[in-house]
């Protein structure tokens, strides 16, 4: 491995002091003065109903109310991948909490009060709350206009049904593969809906200036994508929209794309000259952003006695909610990768995006992989046990390696899955039994592997602007979001490595689309890779300009020049040591005549994966190269179960992930700790629960149980595997989302090891485990 000066060295976060001191600004901190107006939405109390009429008269009489806005004013559709949404409900509502209208007022209190006085008459319609009901013959059709919605070419809706997208993948002959197996195991796994539950709720402030300029400040992972959707939905030119995104208090996918921000942007269009603010309450945050989609996964896998998996059939029914403009791509991502990181000859995947009358589903850390990996890695463990093969060894025998053919035909990138499996297993002393600390406690160990590819359009681009300053320091502007992952620091390290300017002399700012270069979105764990490549290109361009200036002013051969310690040095002239600060803005004086060469060093970089394609056969999924690469890894876990209560205490989690090259190792260790904890939250405590009318029963942090500092494992062991990604900046690839993907099946596998009970529905709460244990007892 190449030894770098800044890349690969743990580097303190450049946003650390600001955040630890509480000085970092978030959208809700911004001050807009006394002209600021406040908005509150009128939400549907019904899961499915026709809107018969909206009476705004009483609301308009409330003192302080400026305007009541309904869907009449905004009739266009919008959506990231499938245009199935309106800014406000038009003729019907499709989930409890959907926005029907909004009140703009001078105070938040007046807005809230008036919102309660908007009278909406509904005709209640039959509703569907799970995929079975939505797929049943004669089920009420949620989107009769499905055929007419704009969509990306890789979606395959079934008009006349509630199937918004059906991703099929066929490889080999599954029936033959299953006949060839010595053991075939079939079961169904259930994953409920989850909430991102970021600390910061969504917030937006928008203002249309008198000159026709729309500025939007939002808590978002996707400033440029927001600008694009605002332009399309509101009929504005992109040049007239400016999106500013201050720091974000937790994203996890929940602040990707566009949700409530478009309400703020639209309302601003109606009160020109006044900023309008919309700030979700915690309950609204739960109900009307994105939720992680629910999943019922039916799995059949066959394997031979020697441990070779012969065939896999995976049918995934996604409860995608009332609108799937983003969520359908989660379904798509799973539908081409739900084999997990295994080499399997015969594969059949069916991933169905099903409309239901529950809140819209969407992206959540793992983007479908966290969901399907619960069943898949549970099933893999059960097969290993059924064949009498050690689960670690069973995974090793089938593990994908670089160069393997992927289920859709493309080639697997270089990867270190075998190393990850071995190191995760070693870290938890796999195969060695541990004594139980008390008579009512049983100890169990689990293992699970994972993979994930970024799910992106084939032409998702990133760009960077870079400029040198008089003192030799550097400013970089990019439009990826710092959402806690350490992205700004990684970008500084990449530029630092090229320019020999230390990261603490490089400022990387959060986005303002007027100033910062383009970025598609901060999702898919791709910004270190994609935007990192753009920053690398910008830094290379700046370096070339610097060396060219020295060449032109002093005559040195460019090939002999290099940067070190913020100086230009030469391999042929040991006396040359030109500090960058002396000439990167003001140029170099030519000794001969006192004229200057050079000028302010500015540079830009741009990156797009030019090798991806989503063109494939809709019936087989064969063809194209939809994924840029996969990141792989494995994890091991030790837990204790109190058999009298069902309570689980996680003792140790070891997680190994192949980062390609770790740009900032300490940030990856943070991702591992965070991903493990978030994964434990979903498998042990969290679950969105609805009543039989589709109303969320636990839209509070009192009853949506997130793990706390008291619930963390005794030990989290981060393990970084490094098998270079050839097209990544310094060999890097993304690791952010991946670290939570294996956690749910890891716990399920360890629970079975501890108490011999297999749980196939998440979450594995103490209560669910207790009930399963007592059922086993008869």
């Amino acid at each position: 491995m190449v030894d770098h000066t800044f890349v690969g060295h743990s580097t303190p976060r450049i946003d650390g002091v600001e955040k630890i001191t509480g000085a970092a600004p978030f959208t809700d901190d911004l001050d807009f003065g006394p002209d600021l107006l406040h908005a509150e939405v009128v939400a549907s109390p019904h899961a499915h109903a026709r809107i018969l009429g909206i009476d705004t008269y009483l609301a308009e009489q409330v003192p302080g109310v400026v305007k009541v806005v309904t869907g009449k004013s905004f009739q266009s559709t919008f959506g990231l991948y499938l245009e199935d949404r309106h800014i406000f409900a038009q003729d019907r509502v499709r989930f409890v909490g959907e926005q029907v209208a909004a009140v703009i007022a001078r105070t938040r209190t007046a807005a809230k009060r008036a919102a309660r006085m908007v009278i909406v008459s509904y005709e209640v319609l039959p509703a569907v709350f799970d995929t079975d009901a939505a797929l049943a013959d004669g089920a009420v059709e949620l989107h009769p206009d499905l055929a007419d919605y704009g969509r990306v070419p890789w979606f395959h809706p079934r008009p006349g049904t509630n199937i918004a997208h059906w991703r099929k993948l066929r490889k080999g002959d599954v029936a033959a593969g299953l006949r060839d197996a010595d053991l075939v195991l079939e079961d169904t796994y259930t994953v409920p809906r989850y909430a991102h539950a970021a600390i910061e709720p969504h917030a937006v402030v928008a203002e249309l200036s008198v000159a026709g300029r729309l500025t939007v400040w939002s808590a978002s992972q996707s400033p440029y994508t927001q600008r694009n959707l605002f332009a399309e939905a509101l009929g504005l030119s992109h040049r007239d929209i400016r999106v500013v995104t201050p720091y974000v208090g937790g994203g996890f996918g929940g602040k990707a794309g566009v949700t409530m921000e478009i309400i703020g942007a639209a309302l601003a269009m109606t009160v020109r000259g006044h900023p309008v603010k919309l700030h979700w309450s915690r309950e609204q945050e739960f109900v009307n952003t994105y939720q992680r989609q629910g999943l019922r996964a039916h799995l059949t896998i066959g394997a031979r006695r020697d441990g070779t998996i012969t065939a896999l059939q995976h049918t995934l029914h996604w409860d995608a909610g009332a609108y799937v403009e983003y969520g359908a791509n989660v379904v798509n991502a799973a539908g081409i990768s739900a084999t997990g990181p295994y080499r399997i000859e015969h594969v059949q995947l069916d991933s169905l995006c099903v409309y239901t009358n529950l809140p819209p589903g969407g992206p959540y850390r793992g983007f479908g992989y966290s969901e399907f990996t619960f069943g898949l890695e549970s099933h893999i463990d059960r097969l290993a046990h059924g064949l009498g093969i050690d689960p670690v060894e069973f995974r090793r025998r089938n593990a994908v390696v670089g160069g393997d053919e992927l289920p859709y035909g493309a080639q697997m990138n270089p990867s270190g899955l075998l190393e990850a499996i071995d190191r995760a297993a070693d870290a938890i002393d796999w195969g060695i039994e541990q004594p139980a600390p008390s008579p009512t406690v049983r100890v169990g160990k689990g293992i699970a592997a994972f993979w994930k590819a970024p799910a992106m359009p084939p032409n998702a681009g990133s760009a960077a602007f870079l400029k040198f300053n008089e003192d030799g320091s550097v400013n970089i502007t990019v439009s990826g979001m710092e959402i806690g992952q350490g992205y700004l620091t990684a970008m500084a390290q990449i530029a630092a490595e090229v320019l020999s300017v230390p990261p603490d002399r490089i400022r990387v700012e959060t986005p303002d689309t007027d100033r910062n270069a383009y970025e598609w979105q901060t999702v898919a764990s791709h910004v270190t890779w994609g935007c990192g490549n753009a920053v690398l290109a910008a830094a290379n361009q700046a370096r070339d300009r610097i060396l060219d200036t020295v060449h032109r002013a002093l005559g040195h051969d460019v090939a002999s020049l290099y940067l070190v310690d913020e100086q230009v040095r030469s391999t042929t002239d040991p006396d040359l040591a030109l500090p960058l600060r002396e000439f990167v803005v003001t140029g170099l004086e030519q000794p001969s005549d006192g004229t200057f060469k050079g000028g302010p060093v500015v540079a830009s970089g741009s990156f797009m994966p030019e090798f991806t394609s989503t063109r494939s056969d809709p019936e087989t999924g064969q063809g194209g190269k939809p994924n840029v690469h996969y990141t792989v890894g494995a994890a091991g876990l030790v837990l204790e179960v109190d058999v009298e209560t069902g309570r689980i205490a996680v003792r140790t989690v070891a997680l190994a992930v192949d980062a390609g090259t770790a740009i900032n190792p300490v940030a990856i260790e943070g991702q591992i700790a965070g991903g493990v904890l978030q994964g434990l939250g979903t498998v042990l405590y969290e679950e969105l629960r609805f009543d039989d009318g589709g109303r969320l029963l636990n839209p509070t942090l009192t009853d949506y149980k997130l793990p706390t500092a008291s619930d963390i494992p005794d030990r989290v062991i981060p393990i970084i595997v490094e098998v270079d990604q050839p097209d990544g900046p310094f060999g890097a690839r993304g690791v952010g989302e991946h670290t939570m993907i294996p956690i749910a099946p890891l716990v399920a596998n360890a629970v079975e090891d501890a108490v011999g009970v297999r749980i196939t529905s998440m979450p594995i709460t103490a209560e669910r485990l207790y009930l399963a244990l007592t059922a086993e007892d008869g």
Partner: protein, 296 residues
């Protein structure tokens, strides 16, 4: 987030002034101590008072002391105060054990023991333990002082024996004899901040009838009098504890809600009772688990 409401806010400096304010008829009045229940309820529009009377400046309401063989806990004494009190640790460590399980450090720094039994939600942590300890609630109004046995305090979810115009100044907890053993066990979904799904307090005094109370498994915290009587009659050997556990279903009436099912609550009450009685007996004998060790 700002809360803007049309209401009057009073912060009297003395008890007399407080009672004077309360005697004026002014509609819906809320007393404020730590505010950990009142403020979220205001924010979520669960209550809409006309006025708030903040007790934090009233002198003398923050006393925490042993007086005449009883612990006097003023209405401004927080759970963190209890945890940090040498007197509590020396004479009534189970009170600190319970306090240490309430919410999180930040909440415990504000929330008061008296506020906990005044908001009187079925899952309140202080309720069962004060029942098991035989505490008394002391109230004052312009009409004079009044004392209510904690057994008569809880009348329903969020309903107590307090009357209009009254302030709970303090509770008194008779200190158990030396050689006593007590335990508080609590079931919750996470180990961190959570409401109790069910809880039990056990107090064993040498020669005396055991006192046991459950929380979160009935509209109010409830004494388990049949279990108390059985253990008093049969002692604390394994057979007696088995028999006591067998009575749990007759003592509590848990419901199914978003936090747990009736079946799980009931089963866990049995486990908690066994573990808490065993721990309390062990502590009485000098070899029980250290206070604060989670029993669940």
């Amino acid at each position: 987030m700002t809360i803007s409401l049309d209401l009057a806010y009073h912060a009297p400096a003395s008890l007399d002034e407080t009672l004077e304010i309360l005697s004026e008829q002014a509609g819906r009045t809320v007393l404020l101590a730590g505010g950990t229940d009142v403020v979220p309820s205001l924010r979520d529009d669960l209550i809409s008072p006309n006025r708030i009377v903040d007790l934090k400046r009233v002198e003398g309401l923050g006393d925490l002391a042993v007086i005449d063989g009883a612990l006097h806990v003023g209405c401004l004494v927080t759970f963190s105060d209890l945890i940090g009190s040498p007197a509590v640790h020396a004479r009534l460590p189970v009170l600190a054990e319970m306090a240490g399980m309430v919410a999180s450090v930040g909440i415990r720094n504000r929330a008061t023991l008296v506020g906990n039994i005044c908001s009187a939600v079925p899952s309140c942590d202080a309720g069962p333990l004060l029942l098991a300890l035989g505490a008394r609630v002391h109230l004052v109004s312009r009409e004079g002082v009044r004392t209510v046995d904690v057994d008569d305090w809880f009348e329903g979810p969020r309903r107590t024996a307090i009357r209009s115009g009254e302030v709970v100044t303090h509770v008194t907890i008779p200190l158990p004899a030396s050689g006593h053993g007590a335990a508080y066990a609590r079931l919750s979904r996470t180990r961190g901040e959570d409401l109790a799904q069910a809880c039990v307090a056990v107090v064993l005094e040498p020669g005396d009838r055991p006192r046991i109370a459950f929380g979160a498994v009935a509209p109010t915290p409830v004494r388990a009098r049949r279990i108390e009587a059985l253990l008093h009659a049969q002692g604390l050997d394994a057979g007696a504890i088995d028999a006591a556990v067998g009575l749990v279903a007759e003592e509590v009436a848990p419901i199914t809600d978003v936090r747990a099912t009736r079946r799980y609550r009931l089963a866990m009450c049995e486990v908690m009772l066994r573990r808490a009685v065993t721990a309390a007996a062990g502590r009485a004998a000098g070899d029980g688990p250290v206070h604060g060790t989670p029993l669940m």
